[in-house]
Amino acid sequence: MSAVLVVHGGAWSIPDEMAPASVDGVKAAARHGSSVLKSGGSALDAVEAAVRALEDNPTFNAGYGATLNIDGEVELDAIIMDGRTLASGAVSCVKNIANPVSLARAVMEKTSHVMLTGKGANQFAESIGINAIPTDKLVTEYEKKEWEKAHDTVGAVAVDCAGNVACATSTGGIRNKMVGRVGDSPVIGCGGYADNSSGAVSCTGHGESILKVTLARLILSHVEQGKSVADASRLSLQYMGDRVQGAGGTIVVSPSGQWAATFTTERMAWAAAADGVLWFGINPEERLNEKLSQ
């Protein structure tokens, strides 16, 4: 079976002037992650590579380009999960790291824990040679101008040729959040979940709503009961809107290669690489495509 990778760059009312950069960004990340899969890399390698590409891109609210909290600092959250073993790594409120998703992977692979927070997460980073970056290098001009930027997040899901699924999600959180606020992104079952028996999910949108309904895990519970990934996503986002009045977006992939990118916000930049085709969109119902190999 062929590998599939889907990425998102955040679900929110992306302004028109940011739309082209957002679409370019997710397409580039999808191409990058997909090439990892093509050369035999695992789903885990692919989602990490794709999310790193998004973290490095200042267009997105993760890593470089992240939002400032109320104290004017950058606090980052990320999660990565391996559907084969259910192993997971997460960091919350880690400061001044360029690639939180890689730190999350290190938590998973180099510690016996699943999640590290705050100072402890930073200390761990240092201990494995990941250096802190000065705040002003991480904060873009865009952020410094008080542009009303809503909450966005980046993420990826993948299934590799061996049928293993994985997910990764990374964020700088909501603008002007309280110091130490932890949203859905690093919380397993909320910001993301991956299980070879059902699939992998990465979520974005209103963090507190995603937490209330454990959105990622909810979607997979529908898949477990026989729903398609598209229906499972739609039902779950609908439920989140009805029950807690929250909007968001999700990307899902099943172990057999079914995939979906769904959102109830105004826009979500997303891209999927499957069977030599690159699919992408940003507006509701949009599904553009082009050849994957350029």
Partner: protein, 310 residues
Amino acid sequence: MLPVVVVHGGAGHIPKERSDLSTSGVCSAVRSAYAVLQGGGSSMDAVVEAAMLLENNPSFNAGCGSVLNLKGEVEMDALVMDGKTLSSGAVSAVRNIANPIQLARLVMDKTSHACLTAEGASQFARSMGVPEVPQESLITEYSRMRWKKNLAPDANPVECQMGKMGTVGAVAVDTDGNVACATSTGGMLNKMEGRVGDTPCIGSGGYADNMSGAVSTTGHGEAIMKVTLARHILFHMEQGQSAEAASDLGLAHMKSRVGGLGGVVTVDPQGNWAARFSSRQMAWAAAQKGTLHYGLYTGEHFTQIIEDAH
């Protein structure tokens, strides 16, 4: 059938000489929580009351009596969730406060967020007038002794962890049919600084939904997280399994899929409840229809009329 409250004081292997303390602790907490419910208090009031008492009781791994991290310091996690609105409040890796569960509730009630961590949680505590307490007031001889023992290179913290009282928690349904859960812990013995376990993670340490029920979990935190145990159990209940069957299915799944042991207290909106565990023991107690139920070892189920003297 209503109201009902079920409390746990941690799953694991409790040394015999400490087992009386654990049993009396959970019984005492459940009596107080039940009195809150009988007096018209909400399920949230009841679970917070139970968790606070257990945090204040030095025999449990929460608040005072918390296990120590690798550096010999106390970092605590807590979660509350309201089944009616699905609102929740959590704190992770918070230091120097006596009652993390109280702070978690304040996060839920007084902020638009669901979780605050570390220094941010402390800042918030200060802004709410929650007193800062010296770390020493949270550390017991027993927890210090276990920490020292676990610094030895051949020590196995997960196994030794199971030898200490675990996380505390409670679930309840009030007379209005609202469910709630609360879970609080000092975490894992000799954990890395900043390690966050299942307790403050919604869906793992606990979950509450008026449509299906409430769960509070204890046991090996990382394993509980991998299977999002609380949410997993409620998925089974949504599909028609009883509180007891769903709890057993969840614990079995955790054991077979990721090799982890633990325990849960579970309640459905009608007041059916269960206290189940795959570890050797779990101190638990429940109160319903004027009767106290409690146990420690597998298969134990003692009862007592609540008007009895202690």
